[in-house]
Structures are given as structure tokens and as C-alpha cells.
């Protein structure tokens, strides 16, 4: 459990809330997280946008995105609080560290492959001409 996990949290605030209220809510969310021992690494206001379908008879909402590092216990507490808050229409938490690690690995592998390719080019050409000579001989 000691390992750090990275989460992305998106939540949608009621469109009737003004900017100040959205700010207040966001700060409250951040406080819950930091109180539990997590650290908020990124906060992004994605702004007001139309919902693809109605939620609680609302046609649009204010999107807020957070990136959080923590153990996972904070998420449980936060979600419990968000569920009872009727100003928050919807929330979603996604664990991203595993996917990012995987992506990094693939990237590194590609880089290594490219390196090998440029390094081994002379040799590869040599081998090619060898096989050509062989087929001619046959």
C-alpha cells in the first residue's frame, strides 16, 4: 500500500452554480484530499459545456479536472462526500499511473529499437548482399 498511485478525477458541477461556488467546491474537494494525505498535482477548470445527455434534468454542466497522487483511501472518502453533494451532478475517478507506465515502456522500447536500427544498418546491408550473392550462385 505504500506505493503512490495517480488518479484523475473529473466532476461535473450544477450549471446554476456561479464561478465563486465552483471555486469553493473545488477547494473543498482539494481540502478533503489533502486532509486524507493525498497531494493534488493538477487542477484544471474545463469550463462550462453541454452534456451529451441530461443529468438530473440539466442540459449542461461545469467540468473540473483534478490529478491526485495518493494511496487510494482518499478516493473512497472523496467519493462518499461527492455522492451526497447535490451540487455535483457526476464524478468519475480513473487510475492513470499503470497506463502511463505502460506507455512509457512502449516509448522506451521504440526508442531503443530505432537506435538499434540506425546502429545496425551497415551490418544489415552487408547481410543482404551476401544472400543475393548466394541466390545467384544457386
Amino acid at each position: 500500500m505504500a506505493e503512490k498511485r495517480t488518479y484523475e478525477i473529473v466532476f461535473i458541477v450544477d450549471p446554476e452554480a456561479d464561478d465563486a461556488e465552483v471555486m469553493r467546491l473545488t477547494e473543498a474537494v482539494q481540502k478533503i484530499l489533502t486532509d486524507q494525505g493525498a497531494s493534488v498535482t493538477k487542477t484544471e477548470m474545463m469550463g462550462r459545456r453541454q452534456l451529451a445527455y441530461e443529468i438530473n434534468h440539466k442540459r449542461d454542466g461545469v467540468y473540473v479536472l483534478l490529478e491526485v497522487e495518493g494511496s487510494g483511501a482518499e478516493i473512497a472518502e472523496l467519493e462518499r462526500r461527492m455522492r451526497v453533494n447535490d451540487r455535483i451532478l457526476r464524478y468519475m475517478t480513473i487510475r492513470v499511473d499503470e497506463d502511463r507506465r505502460r506507455a512509457d515502456k512502449l516509448k522506451n522500447r521504440r526508442a531503443r529499437k530505432a537506435e538499434r536500427k540506425t546502429a545496425g544498418k551497415g551490418k544489415a546491408q552487408q547481410a543482404e548482399s551476401d544472400t543475393e550473392a548466394d541466390s545467384e550462385a544457386a
Binding site: 473529473v10 461535473i12 452534456l51 451529451a52 445527455y53 467540468y63 479536472l65 457526476r90 468519475m92
Partner: protein, 99 residues
């Protein structure tokens, strides 16, 4: 003995029928060139669920996820795309169903 052979032949017949059913209006359909995965060319490792514009290009009017046989995507990228679209649906960035 001979009945066994008959059975087997019946089986082949069914398979041929199945193949035929799988490609309506052959001829032209089959001549279409094999598409290649756009995400593989661009070397995409993560498909972000917040990238609505990208995801929307794989969600036709009806709101369904575009099948692989149409888009020509590779299996792993199709899985990633499907996951991202489902996440986007959850937070109302994309519709579950559009009429």
C-alpha cells in the same frame, strides 16, 4: 463408413454458406484495400477520454462505437478506444445512445 463422409461433406457445405453470408455484395466489397490502424501510425500509447473531438470521430450518429472492420483499427488500439469512449460516456462527454 460412407455415412461419415456424407456428414463431413455436409459440414463443408455449411461453411461455404457461412462465408457467403458473411460478405453481402461481394466482388466490390472484397476488393477494398486493407485499412491500417491510424493510432499505430501515430504511435499513440494512451487514448485520453477527455479528447472529445478525437473520440467523436469514432462514434457515428447513432452513438455506437465504430467497429474495427470499418475503421481498420488494430485490436489493442480498438480496446483502448472503446474504453476511452465508455469513460467519456460516463461523464456525459459522449452520448450512450443518440436518436
Amino acid at each position: 463408413m460412407s455415412t461419415n463422409f456424407d456428414d463431413r461433406e455436409g459440414g463443408y457445405g455449411f461453411e461455404r454458406e457461412y462465408e457467403r453470408a458473411g460478405m453481402p455484395g461481394r466482388g466490390q466489397r472484397r476488393m477494398q484495400r486493407r485499412k491500417i490502424c491510424r493510432f499505430c501510425i501515430d504511435k499513440v500509447d494512451i487514448i485520453d477520454f477527455k479528447d472529445v473531438r478525437l473520440l467523436a470521430s469514432y462514434v457515428p450518429e447513432r452513438g455506437k462505437i465504430l467497429p474495427r472492420r470499418i475503421s481498420g483499427m488494430c485490436a489493442s488500439h480498438q480496446r483502448m478506444l472503446a474504453e476511452a469512449i465508455k469513460r467519456a460516456r460516463n461523464i456525459a462527454l459522449l452520448p450512450y445512445a443518440a436518436d
